[in-house]
Symmetry: C2
Subunit: 114 residues, 2 copies
DNA sequence: AATAGTGGTAACCTGTACGTAACTAACGAC
DNA sequence: GTCGTTAGTTACGTACAGGTTACCACTATT
């Protein structure tokens, strides 16, 4: 679904799904909505995602301009991730997805990032 | 993403994505929002989706209670698909996805079901 | 000189979403 | 007895998302 061809699809829903429609991206975006986070903090908050997959997803989200990656030239290295305006604008959609789910599938869980 | 394990995930966003997050489901739901459609009509409105994949997606959406499948005992057979309340409640989300895309990626296309 | 802490990368594997093409059952029309 | 129409099904192939594990470069600390 994150295929590049879908990003060029005629349908804007499909194009949005091409950006959002992977297993972890909504959770990553939601997690970053609260505050800027370093790579390790992100990984710690989502223990189920592997570091490799997290790196991949962050890279794609950065390419799609959803989040900002700031690498500081320090030692040990520090890399901070935060949402762009484009990424912040996705939050109402994610919020609605939460509400829809709670409304129609019972209150199984909360909007927690794991 | 449409994996059954994701439907039992702790995160309601992930659970919603497990229902919505495939290549064709948003388009199918949007197409059915206008009117009830027979299988052949659906297939005709979305020429790029193969009949087999369309059948698969419809079956999954029916299992998830997003749409209603009504088979009439006629000849030639007639099967009509329509959205349930749960499916209709997804439309605002799809709508927002369209708007987000138009806002941040330019007016490349319209909310057309193909 | 070994260890810890950072933010990754490289090699490899697997399940499944998606696609193609051919086939089916049932009946009426001709 | 064969053709058309509908709503699929069956068999098969493939690309890729997602996962595991091991490894790297850099420095300060001990």
């Amino acid at each position: 679904m994150t295929n590049d061809t879908f990003k060029l699809d005629k349908c804007p829903m499909t194009r949005t799904m091409a950006i959002l429609g992977s297993k972890w991206k909504p959770v990553i975006i939601y997690t970053l909505s609260k505050r800027h986070l370093r790579f390790g903090q992100l990984a710690a908050q989502m223990p189920l995602i592997s570091r490799k997959v997290l790196t991949d997803q962050l890279k794609e989200l950065e390419e799609d301009n959803i989040l900002l990656r700031e690498a500081y030239n320090e030692l040990p290295p520090r890399v901070e991730y935060s949402l762009t305006a484009k990424g912040l604008a996705l939050l109402p959609i994610l919020q609605q997805m939460c509400e829809w789910n709670k409304q129609f599938e019972g209150h199984v869980g909360a909007c927690e990032a794991r």
